[in-house]
């Protein structure tokens, strides 16, 4: 099944991982791939960890990406990158957003946010670090952070040829289309 590619997106509820995965999956479908996308939501809406998994190729069976299987891991939040690193293929790539969202035990002062996460990951695997929040803010809307990261992912995995503008047009409200297309392009150029 080597021809099936595995993309794992991890983040925190409210960061827009699901919309990014949806746009990604529809783009892959449009160019003729078999695609499966799996997500866990429910309680995770309330500030918990969110993962979406996108698998594509000629024919995809299981919707779930196993340990050591992801060809690319996109972490929308820094600590989540470390939490899910064991799912990345040792020869895979990781895109890490340099953006920290402290979880409840950190907020209450019971635990500390782990230090040196990005350095630890860089020492192990092909790593791209992005300050997507800053990039999105400079583009005029911090909420497009997810699309900036999607752009970086598209570049990292070599899917630039897909007509992403069309897919974005279908998935976001009209007044946000231009902003999101700009975010995607900036994300692609940041690699």
């Amino acid at each position: 099944m080597a021809e099936v590619k595995n993309i794992l997106l991890v983040g925190v509820g409210g960061q827009g991982t699901i919309l990014a995965s949806k746009i990604l999956s529809e783009g892959l479908m449009d160019v003729g791939y078999d695609v499966k996308m799996s997500e866990i939501h429910g309680m995770s809406q309330r500030g918990g960890s969110v993962t979406t998994q996108v698998r594509f190729g000629k024919e995809v069976y299981s919707p779930i990406i196993g340990k050591g299987q992801a060809d690319i891991l996109v972490a929308f939040e820094t600590m989540e990158a470390l939490r899910w690193l064991d799912h990345l293929n040792p020869y895979g790539k990781i895109v890490v957003n340099d953006y920290q969202i402290p979880s409840a035990p950190i907020l209450t002062g019971k635990k500390d946010y782990p230090e040196g996460v990005i350095e630890r990951i860089k020492a192990k695997v092909d790593t791209t670090v992005l300050d997507a929040a800053n990039i999105a803010e400079r583009l005029g809307n911090a909420k497009t952070m997810n699309i900036v990261l999607l752009g970086a992912l598209v570049k990292a995995i070599g899917l630039e040829a897909i007509n992403w503008e069309d897919i974005i047009k279908k998935n976001v409200k009209e007044k946000f289309i231009d902003m999101n297309i700009k975010a995607l392009k900036t994300g692609m150029d940041s690699l």
Binding site: I40, H41, G42, M43, G47, Y61, S62, P90, P105, I121
Partner: protein, 592 residues
């Protein structure tokens, strides 16, 4: 045309294509999106949120008996609530075709248990179909409805989280308009009096025999011949995991019609393969029946019956294969549990309740279950929908009889109160209890993502409707002590809790404030106004006592170095709970 659909979206499309005209459900993860995606077919289908799953199934049963094609959908534990009509309706049979969708949750992502509802098909003796992707989910709705009409029985469509919430490609078709069958009065068929039921009981066994033939002949149960050293029998998402691991290295008997099992096909398959594996998630439902038929197979002695299955587990236990992983120290990664949102109206209430001593708090199913977690640590028990009030009543009676002066406070949401809390409150009233029942009315069904309910003023398909008055409903049920409070005003909450705990009679406190994530309707804005301004910490005033941190608001962070609290401007909505908690007035509202 092909579309990328989740299993739930595919079931909704299947309902449309199959000519279904009535659908009902109670929201519950992972089933909620089925009815949400049926709702837009307003012209073709009447789609409704029922107050609970029993009512949803019963209304679908009524539509079927009247001659319409019908569907009811619910999460796995919802079928427990609907079990009563399910078992009787299995006796009477149908008029219009009817499908019951059960969305199970291996792995317990957002539920209270991991029950395997395939057992219900065998228990109630109704046929069952199990899709393994979205295309099958859509197609099987139509097959289920046709099977229902042909064999005069409800059909169970059993899904799991990874089918419900995974997207895969689906070929869409046109709707088949079938109209409504005639309704002919026939109590011998539809009235389960003992005399008639005994006849129905005999019919069920006769029906089961014809269903065995149907399962053996069904195209949903098919062989995939490759290498015959290993043979795999599997269904649902487990089949996809098995294919992922074995590919063409094994032969498969893929099962889609899983009750009754196609034992002839199973025997034929078993006879031709050297080693037979049964790969299924959670219980050994298929395996036990195969072994009972005297066929040797390997199943749960190797494959775990706890938790979600995946390809990694199968590869490890059956082939001893494991992929290399990146070794990296992640021991300091901190857990990320779900929390009540910043501005959640439940926070202020729980904060005040957490200060009460000698109180047992019986909780219920909903966001407010998070009241069990640190730092609020308020809720003692969570059993099932509605149990807060009735389990609370039983606990209070036990405390009272044994002269223990512990008081019970039962905590339930508005939608859960409508679901089964009403019956429980009748118990409190009727049996002379003295519990404090708190109805956390956030004007919507929160946890499952904002579904309308009998108290919200709108139907699933957007029609304005009766808005059930909770305080007056409680009074009508004999509760004389009823008060409505604003849960964001801590003094009001505290005084009212003290008032209720002083009483030696039952009381109801309704905390009325909309869910912070809810899009406010015009009526909401009129009653509650809009949020204005944010809360801000004056760092010179802050003494680092962490009192505000004890509210568990995710917008507040204690900075260990400066020993001060800071407030995240993006998350804060200015609910002012922290302002009221601060003992030195270091938190203020700004930007109003």
């Amino acid at each position: 045309m092909k579309k990328l659909l989740t299993g739930n979206e595919a079931v909704a499309r299947g309902a449309f294509e199959a000519g279904i005209t009535f659908a009902a459900a109670y929201p519950g993860t992972p089933s909620t999106e089925i009815l949400e995606n049926i709702a837009p077919y307003k012209k073709e289908i009447t789609a409704e949120w029922a107050p609970n799953e029993k009512v949803a199934l019963e209304s679908a049963i009524g539509a079927s008996i009247a001659g319409a094609r019908a569907l009811a959908a619910m999460k796995q534990v919802g079928v427990n609530v609907a079990a009563d009509p399910l078992f009787s309706f299995a006796y009477t049979g149908v008029n219009g075709g009817i499908v019951l969708v059960s969305a199970d949750e291996p792995g317990i992502h957002s539920s209270q248990n991991e029950q395997d509802n395939r057992m219900y098909a065998k228990f109630a003796k109704v046929p069952m179909l199990e899709p393994s992707n979205s295309q099958e989910a859509k197609d099987m709705v139509k097959i289920a409805v046709e099977t229902s009409e042909k064999y005069d029985t409800l059909v169970l469509l059993r899904m799991t989280t990874r089918i419900c919430h995974s997207k895969s490609l689906v070929e869409l078709k046109e709707r088949e308009e079938v109209g409504k069958k005639d309704y002919i009065k026939n109590p011998q068929k539809y009235a389960t009096t003992p005399a008639y039921a005994r006849g129905m009981r005999v019919n069920i066994e006769r029906r089961l025999k014809t269903l065995v033939d149907a399962s053996n002949e069904s195209e949903l149960n098919y062989f995939e011949w490759h290498d015959k050293k290993i043979g795999i029998i599997s269904s649902g998402v487990a089949y996809q995991h098995a294919k992922e691991v074995f590919g063409d290295r094994a032969s498969y008997l893929k099962l889609g019609f899983t009750f009754p099992l196609p034992m002839k096909k199973i025997q034929k398959f078993a006879a031709q393969v050297e080693t037979l594996y049964v790969i299924e998630e959670v219980e050994p439902y298929i395996e036990e029946q195969i072994k009972a038929a005297g066929i040797a197979c390997i199943g749960k002695e190797k494959i775990p019956n706890i938790g979600e299955l995946n390809a990694d587990i199968i590869a490890k236990v059956l082939l001893g294969e494991e992929r290399p992983v990146i070794e990296c120290d992640a021991s300091d990664v901190v857990s990320r549990p779900p929390t009540l949102c910043a501005g959640c109206p439940h926070r202020g209430f729980f904060y005040e309740l957490s200060k009460k001593k000698n109180v047992m708090v019986t909780g219920d199913i909903g966001c407010y279950g998070l009241g069990v977690a640190d730092p609020l640590n308020t809720v003692d028990t969570i059993i099932c929908m509605g149990a807060s009030i009735s389990a609370g009543h039983g606990a209070q009676k036990a405390f009272n009889r044994h002269n223990t002066n512990t008081r019970v406070v039962s905590v339930i949401g508005d939608s859960t109160f409508f679901h089964t809390g009403i019956n429980s409150l009748l118990d409190v009233s009727y049996n002379r209890s003295n519990t404090v029942s708190v109805i956390l009315d956030n004007r919507i069904t929160g946890m499952t993502g904002h579904q309308e309910n009998p108290g919200s003023g709108y139907t699933l398909q957007g029609m304005p409707t009766k808005d059930i008055d909770i305080p007056n409903l409680c009074k009508a049920m004999g509760i004389e002590n009823v008060k409505v409070v604003n849960p964001l005003k801590l003094n009001e909450v505290k005084t009212t809790l003290n008032w209720a705990l002083e009483l030696d009679e039952p009381s109801v406190i309704v905390t009325r404030w909309p869910c912070v994530l809810k899009k406010h309707s015009e009526i909401d804005i009129e009653e509650f106004g809009d949020y204005k301004g944010l809360c801000s910490v004056d760092v010179d005033q802050c003494i680092g006592c962490k009192k505000c941190i004890k509210t568990g608001c995710p917008a507040l962070q204690f900075d260990k170095k400066s020993k001060k609290v800071k407030i995240d401007k993006i998350q804060c909505i200015g609910c002012e709970v922290c302002v009221q908690v601060c003992p030195v007035n270091a938190i203020n509202k700004v930007g109003e």
